[in-house]
């Protein structure tokens, strides 16, 4: 039985740059007691579709151009705001992507949790409270009593997402819409949340509409899959058949982009480029008396020419470690030697010279490029600064650089906002390799990108590394990516180094129990990809 039937839904946005058709005549069918997943990359219209169903798109600029959405005998698209409000939070619950921002930071958990009950039922505050505590127990929150009194910031992302799920389910809706509910979470947490959603769906026998960009994630839990690309539904059907026998090229491309391949064999590199001994980077915050020990007593060495994958969950200190190596943050204690130079005691002019040889690529290509500088200026800046080229040769040099990262030369005078995420990351990479550095810290360089783009950028990085002989510290939370690119892997947990070794060894015979836990959480392991 269909729970929700969407027919020919079209949604567009009127912006100052013209009208954008976000969803074009899409049909979706969500069955009772099943998990239907919508897969698509950013801009595919998958989220817009769901929000449009519940009237959560601001109009203007949004506009529903046509279609029907039948749910419980009524067309959601024709309901008045008032009637729609009665559906929201009672018959249809929603879970959003980022649990960090989707809970009201100013209200206690209990208050927010009970709100749908108070809005849609006649329960008293006391009854609502009891019900809320039950729900918190059901989603596996330790100490629900106390949680009711807490504010969202006191919880980790995973806990918050549990609260969000509890909130969405508190009125026992027939349909749960989950919009990328695990994307912002760490791998281990992601696995738990996925499991929770699936088990709740089965236990309650409800319909779930699960939106994700990650095929691997949904592969294990979805019953039905709909693949969307640029507002169109390109393929749909039974989860197994879509994954195992994709018909549409785009679906095939998505599947192919999932990082895979066995770890390469490790060939020890003889020369050491960088060593750190007993590195500590602590932060002192104004309010707290105890410093935050972001990096706590870490020692290892990076060999010339290798890619060292640094893996860890959020808060493990991996990014801080990367920044410490480049002296972008002040270290508290410890020694860093780069090619024989002691970075702890280096003078400012020497550091400037040294910066030519060490560069960084950042996670978010949207914030790592100055929005007011053209590509040309961005790329020219390091060249000029380190006197690598003359003014007269600048243009040639910048073009060569653009060629090497795969950017059309014609884009030289454009600004970052005119580019897609992948193109921006190419610019950022271009900037990093401009000075022909010996060493690059790549801090989650592909985690903000869509899967298909991710694969391209990883390929580019691998090529560049070969070509220029760059040594790289590749920081990521994504084990699949790490496995694909790294020669050796270091695992960090709570500021400490858990384990370091050749990739193959670490993935196949993890020593630390944490690493084992981490490896188990890789999504899609049990799904059968081609």
């Amino acid at each position: 039985m269909s729970l929700l039937t969407v027919k020919d839904l079209s949604v567009s946005f009127v912006t100052r740059n013209g009208t954008v058709q976000a969803v074009r005549s899409v049909n979706v069918d969500v069955k009772e007691n099943a998990l239907t997943a919508i897969i698509g990359e950013s801009g595919s219209g998958k989220s817009v579709l769901c929000y449009a169903l519940l009237g959560l798109i601001p109009t203007p600029p949004g506009r529903i151009d046509g279609g029907e959405a039948w749910f419980a005998g009524q067309d959601l698209l024709t309901l008045s705001q008032r009637d729609l409000r009665r559906v929201r939070g009672s018959q249809i619950g929603m879970v959003f992507q980022d649990p960090m921002t989707s809970l009201n930071p100013f209200l206690r958990i209990g208050e927010q949790l009970a709100e749908p009950l108070l809005l849609h039922t006649d329960l008293s505050k006391q009854q609502a409270k009891i019900r809320s505590i039950e729900l918190l127990e059901e989603v596996g929150l330790p100490d629900p009593q106390q949680a009711m009194q807490a504010y969202p910031f006191e919880f980790s992302g995973g806990m918050r997402q549990r609260v969000m799920i509890a909130m969405a389910l508190i009125n026992e809706p027939q349909l749960l819409i989950a919009d990328e509910p695990t994307t912002a979470l760490d791998a281990t947490i992601q696995a738990q949340i996925l499991e929770l959603i699936k088990s709740l769906q089965v236990r309650r026998g409800i319909g779930v509409l699960f939106i994700s960009h990650d095929l691997a994630v949904v592969a294990e839990i979805a019953d039905e899959i709909l693949v969307m690309e640029k507002g169109n539904a390109v393929e749909s059907g039974d989860a197994r058949s879509v994954i195992e026998h994709p018909k549409h090229d785009y679906t095939k491309k998505l599947l192919a982009s999932i990082p895979s391949g066995s770890p390469r064999n490790y060939e020890p590199k003889p020369q050491t480029l960088l060593t750190i001994e007993g590195l500590k980077t602590w932060f002192h915050t104004e309010a707290k008396t105890q410093p935050v020990r972001a990096v706590d007593d870490v020692s290892f060495a990076i060999q010339k020419g290798e890619v060292l994958g640094l893996v860890g969950e959020s808060g493990s200190g991996k990014s801080t470690l990367g920044r410490s190596l480049l002296k972008l943050v002040n270290i508290t204690e410890g020694l860093i030697h780069f090619d024989g130079i002691n970075l702890s005691t280096i003078s400012t002019p020497d550091l400037k010279t040294l910066r030519r040889r060490m560069q960084m690529i950042f996670q978010d290509p949207y914030s790592s490029l100055n929005p007011r500088m053209t590509v040309f200026d961005t790329l020219a800046e390091p060249l000029l600064l380190h006197n690598l080229v003359n003014r007269s040769d600048l243009e040639t040099a910048v073009r060569a650089l653009m060629d090497s990262v795969g950017l059309a030369r014609a884009f030289a005078k454009k600004y970052p906002h005119e580019f897609s995420g992948g193109q921006r990351q190419r610019i950022a990479i271009g900037r990093a390799i401009a000075t022909k550095p010996d060493f690059i810290v790549a801090d989650e360089p592909v985690s903000a990108l869509d899967v298909t783009i991710q694969a391209q950028i990883l390929a580019l990085l691998a090529d560049l590394k070969e070509e220029y002989g760059i040594t790289m510290l590749f920081v990521s939370h994504d084990l699949a990516v790490i496995r694909q690119i790294s020669d050796r892997v270091a695992v960090m947990y709570k500021g400490r180094l858990e384990e370091i070794g050749p990739t193959k060894r670490v993935f196949e015979q993890p020593e630390s129990s944490y690493t084992q836990r981490l490896l188990r959480a890789i999504p899609g392991q049990n799904a059968s990809f081609k």
Binding site: T353, R355, M360, E381, L385, A410
Partner: protein, 295 residues
């Protein structure tokens, strides 16, 4: 050498510039266009005052006195029998000049001060902002009188005096801006490139703080014009018979029951400027806001 296929032939796309884009977006914003047009007309009118008005701005006709608007005097005359339209035109020269130049002075000082404080942080920031606190608390009038005595009276001083007051708030706003921009990865990227803090400030941080500053600036200009009236009244600013909108408004306020036109017309001139500036400012901010153009 090339690793990925280059999809577009080289150098065929016309370079699209931030400023050109901004201009295009600005042109689509009707209110901003109207604001810009009104400002242009106003600036033209005050510059061409002698050709627009048949009267000298200081030519008196004591026996005529204050008269209501008429065919001969479109905006009426003041108690000296001087043509009000002419006075508004000439007063506009001073008001607009003071408004724009003094604000520019304040902007220059405030932006430099605020961005250095915000960028350096720590003790330097604390010291610099305490200095601003001290200036905030000083008796403004005594300060002005001293300035006047030490430097004598001239229009440059007027700009300085006003700039010296207005920059404080600008510095605070700028500091907040810089503090948040400092966290952005592109600033970190610039550091890792090896750029010096000063270059990072003026190349990477300040251009990105333009938006909020524009809005505050458009609000500052009219209040600067009124501050000029107050200073002129104290004897620091311009001296009669030269006049300004602020002075005309303060004179007009005294006799608003007897000669309402002496208040209404200069007030309208100032209000018109305020709205034009504000529409233009909002338009500029939106036009320059590159974030708003994607996503």
């Amino acid at each position: 050498m090339s690793h990925s296929p280059v999809e577009v032939a080289d150098d065929e796309i016309e370079a699209s510039s931030l400023w050109r884009d901004a201009r295009l977006r600005l042109q689509k914003n009707h209110l901003a266009v109207i604001g810009a047009a009104a400002l242009t007309i106003m600036i033209l009118a005050v510059s061409l005052a002698p050709w627009i008005s048949p009267y000298e701005y200081d030519a008196q006709n004591l026996d005529l006195g204050a008269t209501a608007p008429s065919a001969a005097h479109w905006f009426g005359t003041d108690i000296f029998g001087r043509d009000l339209l002419t006075q508004i035109l000439y007063g506009g020269r001073i008001s607009l000049a003071v408004g724009f130049i003094a604000t520019a002075v304040a902007l220059l000082i405030g932006v430099s001060w605020g961005s250095v404080a915000g960028y350096c942080g720590g003790r330097i920031d604390a010291a610099m902002m305490r200095f601003v606190d001290v200036l905030y608390a000083l008796p403004f009038m005594i300060f002005i009188i001293l300035l006047m005595v030490v430097f004598g009276r001239n229009i440059i001083l007027l700009f300085l005096a006003i700039g010296a007051v207005e920059w404080l708030t600008m510095a605070r706003i700028m500091r907040t801006q810089v503090q948040s921009l400092k966290q952005k990865e592109f600033v970190e990227a610039a550091t890792s490139t090896g750029l010096s803090p000063l270059v990072i400030l003026y190349r990477h941080i300040i251009p990105n703080a333009v938006g909020p500053m524009i809005v505050y600036t458009t609000l500052t200009i009219p209040s600067v014009m009124l501050l000029e009236a107050f200073l002129s009244f104290l004897g620091l600013g311009i001296q009669p018979p030269a006049t300004s909108w602020g002075l005309l408004i303060s004179y007009g306020a005294e006799t608003m029951e007897e000669y309402p036109w002496l208040l209404i017309f200069p007030g309208a001139a100032l209000t018109l400027t305020l709205f034009s500036l504000n529409f233009l400012g909002d338009g500029l901010r939106d036009a320059l806001d590159v974030r708003g153009s994607k996503d």
